[in-house]
């Protein structure tokens, strides 16, 4: 029998090659010029001319590139999950208030520190402390949105509820900020700009572990996610446990978005836009194709944004959050205007 499902093998090979190229470009760029050959030598454990070059590549640039890949793919997968679950192209981790939840968690930790009489230098303010605060915040807001979602069946209402939770958390953050010291405020601001650097290998392992847990959960719901494309009633009639699928989707999303936001700040745009970009490229709704495609595309987009943010040959690094929206949004608008409607 002929299987009429389209194979995307070639597209995937091309995407992976593109990913590798941008990964190398990303590592080659930075405030210090290092010859490309020396970078390759470092990565393949060969002899390098200068020891400082090896240190820069292995301890700064490589961790940053890996973070970019994890952050880009994780956020994009989360966005795709939300778009399928809510059957709404406007859904994404940011719109549903998960990122604002994470921000609230971090804000309470950093800005609320004076309330609790803690010192900013204590253990709670390491990346791990921030990660736990952000994840709990993200999970709480998402759970609240979901509780509301069970009561209201209308998708638009759920999105509005998500936006309301976003406003609520921003309001709480404003109040906290008002009573905070300049130093605390600055630390929070820097966190909210987003940053892919500054992660130690230990922290990357933590990020990677939770990333893997989140992604493995997603792999097991590929099949029910596909039946949800026909709506909940059809999915049920095909034996899908809709409630369980919804819960797994939510837990996976909050794990991924929570941990990423924790380590790299609330990175806008990627989670919403990359699934659209991928759907335009692949023209499919099948999650078996879309999930890996979205993950690879997300990683590529994030690497490109990070390369731009480093402002090659200059000493400055722009906030990654500005770059993702500044360069990404016009591209999506251009694609949509030029091509056609995207179907979900």
């Amino acid at each position: 029998m002929v299987n009429h499902l389209k194979s995307y093998k070639n597209t995937f090979i091309i995407l992976l090659v593109v990913l590798l190229i941008f990964c190398l470009i990303n590592i080659s760029l930075g405030s210090v010029y290092i010859p490309f050959k020396q970078i390759l030598l470092t990565l393949t454990s060969g002899e390098v001319e200068k020891d400082s070059w090896r240190t820069i590549v292995l301890n700064y640039r490589l961790p940053k590139a890996i973070t970019a890949i994890l952050v880009g793919s994780g956020l994009s997968i989360s966005g795709l999950l939300m778009q399928t679950l809510f059957r709404n192209p406007l859904a994404g981790p940011f719109v549903l208030g998960i990122s604002s939840g994470a921000s609230l968690g971090v804000a309470i930790l950093i800005l609320g520190a004076s309330f609790f009489g803690a010192s900013i230098t204590s253990y709670a303010f390491t990346n791990f402390g921030l990660a736990i605060a952000a994840s709990s915040g993200a999970f709480l807001v998402l759970a609240a949105v979901m509780l509301a979602a069970i009561k209201v069946r209308n998708t638009m209402s759920i999105l509005i509820i998500g936006l309301m939770f976003g406003s609520l958390t921003s309001a709480v953050i404003s109040v906290l900020a008002y009573f905070s010291s300049a130093a605390e405020l600055q630390q929070y601001m820097f966190w909210s700009f987003g940053s892919l650097g500054n992660l130690s290998w230990q922290e990357i392992i933590a990020l990677f572990t939770i990333y893997i847990i989140g992604v493995s959960m997603v792999v097991f719901i590929i099949k029910p996610l596909n039946s949800l494309l026909l709506g909940e009633n059809y999915a049920k009639s095909m034996g899908v446990n809709v409630k369980q699928t919804r819960n797994i989707t939510l837990i996976a999303t909050s794990l991924l978005t929570g941990v990423i936001t924790a380590f790299s700040g609330p990175i806008a745009f990627i989670g919403l836009a990359v699934p659209h970009l991928t759907k335009l490229l692949f023209n499919t709704s099948n999650h078996k194709t879309l999930l890996p495609a979205v993950a690879i595309s997300g990683a590529i987009v994030m690497l490109i944004c990070d390369s731009i943010a480093q402002m090659p040959t200059s000493e400055y690094t722009l906030p990654i959050n500005a770059i993702t929206s500044l360069f990404g949004a016009p591209i999506i608008i251009w694609l949509l205007v030029r091509k056609r409607k995207i179907y979900y």
Binding site: H4, I222, S237, M238, N286
Partner: protein, 264 residues
Amino acid sequence: MDATTKYIIKTTDLSIGYASKKHISTIASNLNICLEPGNLVCLLGKNGIGKSTLLRTLTKVQPELGGTVLINNAKLETLTNADLSKTLSLVLTERLPDSSLTVYELVALGRQPFTNWIGYLTTNDLEIIQSAFEQTNTQHLMNRKCYELSDGQLQKVLVARALAQDTPIIILDEPTAHLDLHHTINTFSLLKNLAKNFGKTIIVSTHEANLAMQLADELWLMTPSKFISGKTATLIEDNSLDQLFDSELISFNKTLKQFTVNHS
């Protein structure tokens, strides 16, 4: 063997309706259905009389308020969604959410109750999908996107999806609501053919009363006063159809086997 064995759907004193914490609103009660396999059943009744509620109850979307439902001799309340998905497939009246699924992918989704955790299609699955396309005569649509189809084509493809699920019972909720006469007749003759030649039990809720008279093996009538079920010919003979619409404007003409408008 048990005496009920030959019935694929049997209900005893079934009551349907909606129950909330505060009060119970019963829409219909004393529904007794004995349905043998291989029949095309048309469920007729005015708007709002509870056709959808009955179908929702039979498909376990909402619980029965009283009485019992046996599907293939198994109590409905003891069946899980996964069990039921192997006995009963649906064609719903609701619009499909926007997606770029191809027709083939849509029909292949019908195999989900039988595929492994990732949804791998075996040769057997592919054969069943192929014959679902053949039975509905929709092979030429296979590689199209669902959003490109006309309402008539989409309805056939949705029937193909239900066939791919390969269940003895198929339930359709107003499948011809958006179709013109040509596609309506096409859909009904397809359903008739599936019941007659492939032994499927097909239950259709519809407003096409006149077509139902010609094609249905059995009728389920939801009248304002009671629920009546029986062979089409019997119900035509015993004047049951007069009760379907309690209106002076419509009456049932036995010789024509049609509902007609009363001119003043």
